[in-house]
């Protein structure tokens, strides 16, 4: 299975981006192969509206089973849930650290959006 983590940059030492819709990008980590790639979210950084929906679309297109991020708003939550992606919010630290936490079942799955849209 692959998982997505919102990230401020393209390395595994990068910090988790606390924003989902307007994150710099997503680290897509393959749990079996233990390898990752970075997917840019640049176009949504300056989106006039609907950044959450579009970022969720990007994550859905990566066929991941889970998303780890800082906060997730209602529209993104709706799209991700419809695609059957498990959402983990409240993550912080480096990408490496949160992936370890995920593997050790230390992250709590979110059952609803934890922020309203435009929370920053």
């Amino acid at each position: 299975m692959k998982i997505a983590v919102s990230s401020t940059a393209d390395t595994s030492d990068s910090a988790v981006d606390l924003r989902f819709g307007r994150a710099s990008g997503f680290i897509i980590y393959d749990l079996e192969k233990e390898s990752f790639e970075f997917v840019n979210n640049e176009q949504n950084l300056n989106a006039m509206q609907g950044a959450g929906v579009q970022a969720a679309q990007i994550v859905v297109n990566q066929n991941v089973g889970a998303l780890i991020t800082g906060h997730c708003g209602p529209k993104a939550f709706k799209v991700l849930s419809a695609a059957g992606i498990k959402i983990f919010v409240g993550a912080e630290g480096s990408i490496k650290e949160v992936i370890e936490k995920y593997k050790n079942n230390e992250l709590q799955q979110a059952l609803e959006a934890d922020v309203k849209g435009h929370w920053v």
Binding site: Q49, G50, V53, A56, V60, K78, V79, A82
Partner: protein, 281 residues
């Protein structure tokens, strides 16, 4: 003739001016139509107390998904410039609150998996008292887009000698939608640094769009030079000054028409009307 009353800064006296000017012209036996286009918080009716004769709901076209037919091609999500659609496998999720009603998605969908549906955005109400025709729009709560409703209000007002358009504050899309097509734009301001700051933005808009426009100073005081210096620099006429008079504020707070109650202010509005008529020519 269409006269739009705009401001930039909110609370400068647009509605006060609109209501009193409309009232004055109707008493001069003109056929007047007052259009309250501040559809997010209309207030002219508080002063005119019109008896509403008709209410019409206003709708906008938004897409609706028929996911039995979706093949997952994704063309609709590509054409949408407002991120209002998401594709999950063979199923489309619609966020109508983000839609700008372009119709691109249901036109590009060859499977007819997206069809045109209607979303209510508010209502337009009409009233008539004597030769004063009154129309206003009220945005449905939580509807973020007002220009289509503003246009629906304006479409109703095409038969009067004089149309007075009370515009929303600001200088963004709703204000532009409201002043569009006006023969003259009155910019109401107050002689404060805030008033001046927003007036500058509003003047930029009307100059750029090549409107005939002039300035009214409301709550006129010892600080008028703030506005007058700027107006001189921009070659804009000060059409009228309404004094910073407690009597006006008191009567306004009870929801009345000022020139009816305080006749000495009638002349200010008569002169204003004359100046606009001269400028228009």
């Amino acid at each position: 003739m269409k006269i739009a009353i705009a401001s930039g800064k909110g609370g400068t006296g647009k509605s006060t001016l609109a209501v009193n000017l409309a009232y004055l012209l109707s008493k001069m036996n003109k056929n007047v139509c007052l259009l309250d286009c501040d559809v997010e918080e209309p207030n002219c009716h508080i002063f005119l107390k019109p008896e509403i004769k008709s209410t019409q709901k206003i709708f906008l076209p938004v897409p609706e998904a028929d996911n039995e037919k979706c093949t997952g091609c994704g063309k609709c999500t590509e054409i949408c410039q407002f991120n209002s659609l998401a594709l999950i496998k063979n199923s489309i999720m619609v966020f109508p609150e983000l839609c700008h009603n372009c119709g691109g998605c249901w036109r590009i969908c060859s499977e007819k998996a997206l069809v045109k549906a209607q979303k209510e955005i508010g209502e337009v109400q009409e009233a008539k008292s004597g030769n004063l025709h009154f129309i206003h729009g009220k945005t449905k709560i939580a509807e973020p887009m007002s220009p289509p409703l503003i246009n629906a209000v304006k479409e109703k007002g095409n038969s009067a000698d004089v149309e007075i358009i009370d515009c929303p504050p600001g200088t963004s899309c709703p204000m532009i939608a409201a002043i569009e097509g006006a023969d003259y734009v009155i910019l109401v301001t107050e002689p404060t640094p805030f008033g001046l700051y927003d007036l500058k933005l509003a003047v930029d808009v009307v100059k750029k769009l090549k409107f005939n426009a002039g300035i009214v100073i409301n709550k006129s005081s010892y600080n008028d030079h703030l506005i007058e210096d700027f107006a001189a620099k921009k070659n804009m006429e000060i059409l009228a000054k309404i004094p910073d008079d407690k009597k006006i504020a008191e009567y306004y707070s009870t929801g009345g028409i000022i020139i009816e109650k305080i006749p000495e202010y009638k002349e200010i509005f008569e002169n204003l009307n004359e100046r606009i008529s001269n400028n228009k020519r």
